[in-house]
């Protein structure tokens, strides 16, 4: 079980793997864009036409949305909802929770179907879960803290420009 309140640290290797999963999912499902968002609203990876999107805002709202439905699930004593689907006129959104701490978001249009998206998301979720296991494992073994060396001066400098 991963410690959900612990600091999330992602190293290049895992970010690269998550990116690869997102890229593959985007192609296989013919989606517009894929976002991999931490449950606290921070973007981990994006793929497809994500660069046209305000991914920071989207990530925060997606996380808020999932947190709210998670709250509803708790109230009605349902286990966390695993996914959500919002159908729009042009673009639809499919969200899935992976490994209890990451949200896999697929934005897609009429050039694919919800069925295909669901199918590909299933496969991608398994791959993503495996990478997240790695991340959790690494977090358990002590790592070098690059910030151990920062000085008060470094911190002050941030605010002086």
């Amino acid at each position: 079980m991963t410690n959900l309140s612990a600091q999330l640290v992602m190293y290049e290797e895992e970010v690269r793997q998550i990116q690869a999963v997102a890229d593959r999912l985007q192609q296989d499902s013919r989606a517009r864009a894929i976002l991999v968002v931490d449950k606290n609203g921070q973007l981990i990876a994006a793929s497809g036409s994500a660069s046209d999107l305000d991914t920071t805002s989207l990530s925060s709202l997606v996380a808020g949305n999932v947190a709210a439905t998670g709250g509803i699930a708790k109230l009605i004593e349902e286990d966390e909802f695993h996914g959500q689907f919002h159908e729009g006129k042009g673009i639809s959104v499919h969200m899935t929770i992976v490994g209890r701490r990451v949200i896999l978001v697929v934005l897609f249009d009429k050039s694919t179907t919800h069925g295909l998206v669901r199918l590909r998301v299933k496969k991608a979720s398994v791959e993503l879960a495996a990478v997240l296991e790695e991340v959790a494992k690494k977090a358990e073994s002590p790592q070098v803290n690059v910030f151990a060396e920062i000085t008060d001066q470094d911190i002050d400098n941030l605010f002086n420009d």
Binding site: M10, N40, S57, G64, F147, A148
Partner: protein, 195 residues
Amino acid sequence: MSFINYSSREINCKLVYYGPGLCGKTTNLQYIYNKTKADAKGKMISLATETERTLFFDFLPLSLGEIRGFRTRFHLYTVPGQVFYDASRKLILKGVDGVCFVADSQMERMEANIESLENLRDNLTEQGYDLDKLPYVVQYNKRDLPSAVPVEELSEALNPTRVPEFDAIATSGEGVFDTLKALAKQVLTELRKGG
């Protein structure tokens, strides 16, 4: 919960503005938004009622400079202060790295301040946090109003642990950045200890 990404070389931290209804949390964020250069901020999102009361949260992403080659980003959130939105407040506190308690200086809001502060403590405890161990600052807002209680009195009632405290008039911006900087500094200092 800060998020350190070695791939994009970024640190992300979550700061939450807490306090009773109408104390000025949203106004703090609006001022910060208005006074921050375009390249250092993202869109401010306000999920609010028709009457501009916060319904779920306000969100403002800020990007400060770099520390040791890592871009520092702060995600600012406000909670809805109205008492009956407690379930939403709990959700916003998840993953918090630092808290600013915004108090309403007006005499008639004293009880609301105390109640909200207790609520903050309870909700943090429920999530496994301890307010006394978190980066934490207190802001006494609405210093411009005639019924403002003297700061010494507010401090005694609302800041028994003597964390950094600031007078503010969020509508004109007085004290707003001092508050933010003090909190951000504490959060970064915490990072040095290894989070």
